[in-house]
C-alpha cells in the first residue's frame, strides 16, 4: 500500500502539492486525475522517490521511499517523456532494465513486444511517440515491481492499444501483487483503464474513490416540473452540484443515491424525468466546478 500523509512540495515559492493525504491500496488500477498544473507529475515523482517532499511522508509497504533502495525496488516509474540512451535499441533498454530490476520478466517482455509488433532490434529514436510509450509501458509491466507509476503514459495511445494494456494490467493485478498508478488529465482514457480515481486539484486531493462508487453517488437527471414552488423544494432537498434550465426542462447533477434522487423527483409530480448516463469527465467537471474551476480550462 502507498500511503501519503500531508505531503507538501513547492517550487520557487509555488506550491505544487499542498498537504496531500491519500492511500493507494493494492490490487487496483489507480488513476490520479487533475487539471493542468494540479500537481499530478509532482505527486508521482514524490511517490517514485525522485523528489524529496518538503513536508509529510510517503510510505510504500510501510517503508519511506526517498533514498530507500528497498522501497524503490518495488516501484517502476514511467515519466511523461521517458528517457532512453542515445542510439539505444529496445534490446538495450531491456538489458538495462534486467540489471536494474532483478525480477524482470525477459520472456514475457519479448512476447509482448511481439504482440505489439515492436522490433527488439530497432532504435527507439526511430519509433513514434506512441510506440515509445508502448515500449516503456511494457518495460514497466515486465520489471516485476509491485507498483507501476505512469505519468501521462496513455496520452496518445490508440484505443486498441489502450484496451490491450488494460487487459494486461488486469491480468497482472489478478496474477501477482501489482498496482498500476496512472496520472492523466485525459478522463476518457482514464475511464477505460482505472477502477479507482483520486482527484487532484491545486495541489490537494479533492477525493479518492472507487470509480463505480463515484458513478453511483453522482447522478444526472433531466425533468420537467411545472410547479415552481415544488421545483424550489426539490432544489432544497437535493445536493445539487450543477443545474441547467431550458424553458421548462431542467437538467441537474446531484449527489446521492439513485433511489433517493428519483424518490425526491417523483414526489414533486414531474411531467417527465429520466436518469442520464454520467461520464467520468462530467463527474470531474462537476466536482471541479463546485470549487470554482473554469470548465473551459480542463477540457483536455
Amino acid at each position: 500500500m502507498i500511503e501519503m500523509a500531508g505531503i507538501s512540495k513547492s517550487f520557487d515559492g509555488i506550491r505544487a502539492l499542498d498537504n496531500v493525504t491519500a492511500q493507494i491500496t493494492e490490487g487496483s488500477v489507480y488513476g490520479i486525475v487533475g487539471t493542468n498544473g494540479a500537481g499530478k507529475s509532482t505527486l508521482l515523482r514524490v511517490l517514485a522517490g525522485i523528489l524529496r517532499a518538503d513536508s509529510g511522508s510517503v510510505r510504500i509497504d510501510d517503508m519511506e521511499v526517498f533514498e530507500n533502495v528497498r522501497a524503490k525496488e518495488r516501484i517502476c516509474f514511467i515519466p511523461d517523456t521517458p528517457h532512453y540512451f542515445t542510439n539505444a535499441r529496445v534490446r538495450d533498454m531491456l538489458e538495462y532494465y534486467e540489471i536494474i530490476y532483478p525480477g524482470f520478466q525477459r520472456s514475457r517482455f519479448t512476447d509482448l513486444c511481439g504482440k505489439f509488433e515492436l522490433d527488439l532490434n530497432r532504435k527507439l529514436s526511430t519509433f513514434s511517440k506512441g510506440m515509445k510509450k508502448q515500449v516503456f509501458v511494457l518495460l514497466g509491466i515486465c520489471a516485476g515491481t509491485r507498483y507501476l507509476l505512469c505519468d501521462e503514459t496513455f496520452d496518445g495511445l490508440d484505443p486498441v492499444v489502450r484496451q490491450a494494456v488494460k487487459s494486461i494490467f488486469i491480468d497482472e493485478v489478478l496474477s501477482r501483487q501489482f498496482t498500476p498508478v496512472i496520472a492523466s488529465h485525459n478522463l476518457r482514457e482514464m475511464e477505460d483503464i482505472c477502477d479507482h480515481v483520486g482527484l487532484l486539484h491545486k495541489g490537494g486531493i479533492l477525493f479518492s474513490r472507487d470509480l463505480e462508487d463515484m458513478k453511483t453517488d453522482i447522478h444526472k437527471v433531466q425533468y420537467v416540473i411545472m410547479n415552481p414552488a415544488k421545483e424550489q423544494e426539490l432544489a432544497d432537498e437535493l445536493d445539487i452540484i450543477k443545474k441547467d434550465t431550458r424553458g421548462n426542462l431542467s437538467c441537474i447533477t446531484a449527489r446521492g443515491s439513485r433511489e433517493k434522487i428519483m424518490a425526491a423527483i417523483e414526489a414533486k409530480e414531474p411531467l417527465f424525468y429520466e436518469i442520464l448516463p454520467l461520464s467520468l469527465e462530467e463527474i470531474f467537471i462537476s466536482e471541479t466546478e463546485v470549487i470554482g474551476y473554469d470548465i473551459k480550462d480542463i477540457i483536455g
Binding site: R52, E67, N68, V69, R70, K72, P79, H83, I99, Y101
Partner: protein
C-alpha cells in the same frame, strides 16, 4: 540495505554509454603511441641516431612530457566530467536515474569511475603497447637523462602525473556540474575555480598599488600561495617538471589528495542536490547567493576604482562607477541565475549588502584604516633590512646578452633580457645598520609632514626618489615598503648608507666584475640609447672568442660542440646584419683605434675605483654621457651595464679621452 544490483554491471553499462568518447580516445591514443611509435623506431631513423640515451629522451618527450598531451588530458577531463554528469542538467534523465532503486552515492560513484576509466584505460593500454614496441628494439631498458630513468619507469611516472592532472580537472568539472544545472554555468564555474583566488590576490595588489603610497608590488607574486591555489598552476608545474624528467611526487600527491577532497564534496552535494534543479543555472540557491556576493564585490571594487582612476580621481565618477558596476554586475549574475530580465534586481537586500561591503573595503583602502602607510616597526622588532632603489640602476640598465656566430666568424651579442634591478632581491643591500635605515625612512614622504608643503603635489626628483625596503622581523615575517623622497632628503639621509663601499659592492654588479672579463666599452650621449645588438669581433678572431667563452656558450650558439656549422648560423647572419645597423644608428663614440685588452682592463679598474668613490650627490647630479660596459659574468653569460658618466667619474672620463673617445667634441 544493500542493493542487489551489481555495481560491476552498472559500471559496464555506464562505460558503454560513453562508447563514442572511449572509442575516440582509444583510436587516438593507438595512433599516437604504438603506430607513430613504430614509425619513430623505423630502421632508417633509428640507425641514424648514435646516442640511445638521447633517443629515449626524445621518446619520453614524445610519449609523456609533451605539452600537447597535457592539453589532451585537460580537455579529456573537462569533456568527460561534463558528459558523465550532464544528466543532472536534464529533467528527463534525472527522473530516470533517480527513480531507479540505486542509492545516489552509488550512481555518483559509478559515473565518476566510468569517466575516469574511459580516459585511463585507452591511455595506459596504448602506453604499454608503446613500451612493448620500444622493448622490441631493445631500448626500453636503457636509461634516459635522469639516473634510474629507464623508459618504462619514466612512462609509469608520466602516467601517474597525467592521472593526477586528469583527476583534478575531472573532479573540479564534476563539482561544477553538480553545482549547476546548465553546461554554460558549469563552464563558468570551472573558470572561477581556476582563477578566483589568484584574481583576488591580483585585485588586492591593484588596490594597494592605487591607494597606498608605500606599497611595494611583490616581485614574487607568481610564487605566492594564492597563485598556487589555482589548478592551472599545478598543471603547469607538473607539466614543467615532467618535461625535465623530474617526477613531481609532492604535487602529484597533493593533487590526488585535493581531488579526493573535491570528490567527497561532490558526493555530499550530490546527495543534497534536489532533482528539480535540473535545467536551472545554479542548483543550490544558498551557494548561488554566496557565489554572487563573492563575484559581485571584487568586480564592483575594480570597476569603481577604474572609473575613479581614469577620470583623475574624480569623486563623482567614482560614485557613478560604484553604482553602475554594482547594479550591472548584480543584474548580470541574477539574470544568469533566473533567465528573466524582470527579476535582475529582485534580491535588493543582497545588492545593498554588496554595495555596503564594497564601500567599506574602499573606505579601508582610501582612509588607510589598517595603517598600512603609517606602519613602521619598532627597532627592537627588526632583525635586518634590505634596501633597493631604482635610481642608481633604473630598469633596463643591466642587459643579458646572448652570443651567436655568423658564417663569416662574426661574433654577435644580442640582448635577450633585462635584469629588473628593483625587483631582483639579490641586488639589494642587506644591512644591520638600523639607525641609518630608520633615519632614512622617517624622512620619506610617508613620515615627513613637511614633504607636500615644501615640494607641491609631486616631489622633485620623483623619478629617482624611490627606496624599497624589506623589513625582516624577528618573528620570522618580512614586510616590504616603498618610500619616496625629495632630492634633498634623499641625498642627506641615504648618503650615509649609499657611500659605504659595502653598499656599492652589493648593489652595483660591475664592481664585482674581474676587469679581465670586460669585453667592450661603449660611450653615447645620455639622451640616446645603446644598441640592443652589437658586433664583438669578426673574421679570424671568432674562434678565439668562442674558446674564451668556455662554458659561457650561449644557447644561441651557431657552432655546435663538434664545430659543425648549424642552421643557426643563418639566424646569426641576420642578427649580425641587424647589429651592424643598430650600431650605425646609435650615436656611439668610437675610439680612434680599438682598445687593447690591457686598455680595457685599465679602463674597467678605473671605472670601479671611481664608482666606489662617487658620492650620492654626484650620482644624482646631471650627466651628459653614458657608458656601457659589456662583461662576462661568473655564470658565463654576457651582461651589459649602463653607467652614468657623472662628475664623480672624472678619472674614467679622462681615461676615455686618452683612449680616443671624443667626449668633448661630441658634446
Amino acid at each position: 540495505m544493500t542493493s542487489k544490483i551489481s555495481s560491476a554491471k552498472l559500471l559496464k553499462e555506464a562505460v558503454k554509454r560513453d562508447g563514442a568518447a572511449a572509442i575516440f580516445l582509444l583510436v587516438g591514443f593507438f595512433c599516437y603511441y604504438p603506430v607513430i611509435g613504430m614509425l619513430l623506431l623505423h630502421d632508417s631513423w633509428f640507425d641514424s641516431v648514435k646516442n640511445a640515451q638521447q633517443y629515449i629522451n626524445e621518446l619520453y618527450m614524445y610519449g609523456i612530457a609533451n605539452p600537447f598531451l597535457f592539453c589532451v588530458t585537460f580537455g579529456a577531463a573537462l569533456l568527460l566530467g561534463i558528459l558523465q554528469f550532464s544528466y543532472l542538467h536534464s529533467a528527463e534523465k534525472v527522473d530516470f536515474y533517480h527513480s531507479l532503486p540505486v542509492r545516489r552515492e552509488k550512481i555518483f560513484g559509478i559515473r565518476y569511475a566510468a569517466g575516469a576509466l574511459v580516459w585511463l584505460v585507452p591511455f595506459a593500454v596504448n602506453i604499454l603497447l608503446f613500451v612493448l614496441v620500444c622493448a622490441m628494439r631493445g631500448i626500453a631498458i636503457l636509461e634516459g637523462a635522469a639516473a634510474g630513468g629507464s623508459l618504462p619507469v619514466l612512462l609509469v611516472e608520466g602516467i601517474l602525473a597525467h592521472s593526477a592532472c586528469f583527476l583534478l580537472v575531472y573532479s573540479l568539472t564534476a563539482l561544477a556540474m553538480i553545482l549547476t544545472g546548465k553546461v554554460f554555468a558549469a563552464l563558468a564555474v570551472v573558470i572561477v575555480f581556476c582563477s578566483y583566488v589568484p584574481a583576488i590576490r591580483l585585485l588586492q595588489e591593484v588596490l594597494m598599488e592605487f591607494y597606498f603610497n608605500t606599497f611595494y608590488a611583490s616581485p614574487d607574486l607568481g610564487k605566492s600561495f594564492a597563485v598556487h591555489c589555482s589548478p592551472v598552476y599545478a598543471y603547469i608545474r607538473i607539466c614543467g617538471d615532467t618535461m625535465k624528467q623530474v617526477f613531481p611526487a609532492d604535487i602529484v600527491i597533493a593533487m590526488v589528495l585535493i581531488s579526493a577532497l573535491i570528490c567527497a564534496l561532490c558526493l555530499y552535494l550530490y546527495r543534497r542536490r534536489n532533482s528539480e534543479m535540473a535545467g536551472k543555472p545554479m542548483a543550490f540557491r544558498k551557494i548561488a547567493r554566496v557565489a554572487k556576493f563573492l563575484l559581485a564585490v571584487p568586480i564592483t571594487l575594480i570597476c569603481t576604482v577604474f572609473f575613479y582612476a581614469v577620470t583623475g580621481e574624480n569623486l563623482l565618477w567614482g560614485i557613478f562607477g560604484w553604482i553602475f558596476s554594482l547594479l550591472l554586475i548584480s543584474g548580470i549574475i541574477e539574470f544568469i541565475y533566473r533567465m528573466d530580465i524582470r527579476e535582475v534586481f529582485c534580491d535588493k537586500k543582497q545588492i545593498a549588502l554588496t554595495g555596503v561591503v564594497t564601500l567599506a573595503i574602499l573606505a579601508v583602502f582610501q582612509m588607510d584604516l589598517l595603517g598600512y602607510d603609517s606602519w613602521l616597526p619598532e627597532k627592537t622588532e627588526v632583525e635586518s633590512v634590505n634596501i633597493g632603489s631604482n635610481f642608481v640602476m633604473p630598469a633596463g640598465c643591466l642587459g643579458v646578452y646572448e652570443q651567436s656566430v655568423a658564417k663569416d666568424g662574426t661574433v654577435v651579442l644580442g640582448v635577450t633580457d633585462y635584469v629588473d634591478y628593483e625587483s631582483d632581491m639579490d641586488l639589494w643591500y642587506d644591512t644591520g645598520d638600523l639607525d641609518a635605515v630608520f633615519d632614512l625612512v622617517k624622512h620619506s614622504e610617508a613620515f615627513d609632514d613637511g614633504f607636500s608643503s615644501e615640494t607641491g603635489e609631486y616631489p622633485d626628483y620623483y623619478w629617482s626618489g624611490r627606496i624599497a625596503v624589506t623589513w625582516h622581523l624577528k618573528d620570522g615575517t618580512q614586510k616590504m615598503r616603498c618610500y619616496e623622497y625629495t632630492a634633498e632628503n634623499l641625498v642627506k639621509w641615504l648618503a650615509p648608507l649609499w657611500e659605504q663601499e659595502d653598499y656599492k659592492i652589493q648593489t652595483n654588479p660591475v664592481l664585482n666584475v674581474d676587469p679581465e672579463d670586460v669585453l667592450m666599452v661603449m660611450v653615447a650621449p645620455a639622451d640616446s640609447y645603446f644598441p640592443d645588438a652589437v658586433i664583438m669581433r669578426n673574421g679570424n678572431t671568432a674562434d678565439s672568442m668562442t674558446e674564451e667563452n668556455g662554458s659561457g656558450q650561449t644557447e644561441y650558439a651557431g657552432i655546435t660542440e663538434d664545430g659543425e656549422k648549424t642552421d643557426y648560423a643563418d639566424v646569426a647572419e641576420h642578427t649580425a646584419e641587424y647589429a651592424r645597423e643598430a650600431m650605425a644608428e646609435a650615436e656611439l663614440l668610437s675610439p680612434q683605434k680599438p682598445l687593447s685588452g690591457a686598455q680595457l682592463k685599465k679602463l674597467a679598474e678605473t671605472v670601479q675605483q671611481d664608482l666606489k668613490e662617487e658620492t650620492l650627490a654626484e650620482t644624482l647630479a646631471g650627466h651628459e654621457w653614458d657608458m656601457q660596459i659589456l662583461y662576462r659574468g661568473e655564470n658565463g653569460r654576457v651582461y651589459g651595464q649602463t653607467i652614468n658618466l657623472s662628475t664623480g667619474l672624472a678619472d674614467t672620463i679622462a681615461l676615455l679621452k686618452e683612449y680616443g673617445y671624443e667626449l668633448e667634441d661630441a658634446a
